[in-house]
Symmetry: C2
Subunit: 203 residues, 2 copies
Amino acid sequence: MSTENSTGKSILIAARKIFVLKGFDGARMQEIADEAGINKSLLHYYFRSKENLFESIFVEAFSQVQSNMLELLTSERFLLEKIEMFIDQYLDILSANPYLPAFVTHEINRNPEKILALIRGTGLRFDLFNTQIDQEIENGSIWPVNPQHLIINIMALCAFPFVAKPLLDKLIFGNVQQQIDEFTSNRKVEIKNLIIRNLKKQL
Amino acid sequence: MSTENSTGKSILIAARKIFVLKGFDGARMQEIADEAGINKSLLHYYFRSKENLFESIFVEAFSQVQSNMLELLTSERFLLEKIEMFIDQYLDILSANPYLPAFVTHEINRNPEKILALIRGTGLRFDLFNTQIDQEIENGSIWPVNPQHLIINIMALCAFPFVAKPLLDKLIFGNVQQQIDEFTSNRKVEIKNLIIRNLKKQL
DNA sequence: GTCTATATCCAGATAGAC
DNA sequence: GTCTATCTGGATATAGAC
C-alpha cells in the first residue's frame, strides 16, 4: 500500500475521480486503471481490493468536506466572524470539489455503519461551539438561537445547491449558464445575510 | 408491463424499496424478487429489464419529492401563506419518505441527462412564482428578495437534513435519539422563522 | 403467469512470467 | 513493479416446461 511512489499516487487520483463521479457500486476497477493509465492488476497489487482502495480515498475526501469545520468550532473569534469565515471557506472548497457533497452523502446513506466507522477519530466536538453560543446569548451580543439548527442551516444552505446541482440547473435555471453563474456568485452574500440577520442584534 | 394486477404492483413496491435504499447500481434483481416474494424471472416478465423497472419507479418517486411544489408555485395565495404551507407539507412528505431525497439526488448525479429526460413533462414553471414575488415587492408587502435563492433556500433547509441524516445523527446529535426527535419536531418552526423573518416587513 | 434451468456476460481478484 | 492470462463468482437476462 505504499502510496509514496508516483504509481500509488496516480492510482489514488484516478480512483478518487471515478469513485466520486460514480459511487462505489457504479465505479469499475477497469475504469480506474484506464484513468490512471496502468494495468488493472496493479490496482490489486497496490491496494488489495476495491473496498480497500475506496476506503483510502473516502477518508481523505470526507476530511475535505468538513476540513474547516473544526476551525469554525474551536477558533477564538466572535460567532458572527466565525460564521462569515466559514461560509466563505466552505463554499470555496465545495466550488473546487462540486461533486464531493453528493458523493459523501450517498456513500454514507449506502452503508452508514461502515462509513461512519471510517470517520472515527476526525474528532469533531461541538461542546465548545455550544458553550460559545450560550455565552454570546448571555452577553446579549446575539439573539437566542438553537446551535444545532444553526449549524445544520449553514451546512444545508452551503451544500444543498451542490448536492442537487443537476436538478436545480435544469428546473430552476433552465440550463441557462448565465443564470447559474449569477446564482453561484451571489450565493455567499445570500447565505450570510440570511444567517447573520437572524443572529445580529443591531443592524 | 401491466401494472394493474397485484403481482405487478407488489413488484413495484418491492423495487421502490430496494432501489431507494441501495440506488440503481447497488440494487440486485434477486433482492427485489425476494422482497416481492416472487421469482426473479417474473421481474423480467413484467418489466423487460432492470433499467425499465427502475424507470417505472423513479418517475413516481421523483414526483413525490416535488409533488406540492407545483401547488406552491401556482396557487392563489399570498406568498407568506404559500411558503408556510409548503414547508409544512414538504416536511410531512419527506418525513414519510426519509430516503427519497438522497435517492433522487444520487440518481440525478449518476446520470443527469437520462434521469432528467424522465422528468420532462412534470411541467414545473416558475414564471408565475417570480411574477408574484415581483408584485408583492412592488406592493410593499415583502422585502426585496431573489426568487431563485428563496426557493433554493427553502428546499435546502427542508431536504438537506434528510439527505445527510446519517451524518448529522452521528456528528451533531451523537446518535442520541431524544436529540434527533427534538430537532425533527422543531424543524418546521425553525425553517419558517428563518425564511419568513427575512421576508416579512412588520412583525 | 409462474416456475426451473441455463445462457451470457462482466466484474473483482489471483497466478505467474518478465 | 508491471504486465498477460485466467479463475471464479455473481448479475442480468432468456428458454422452455408447467
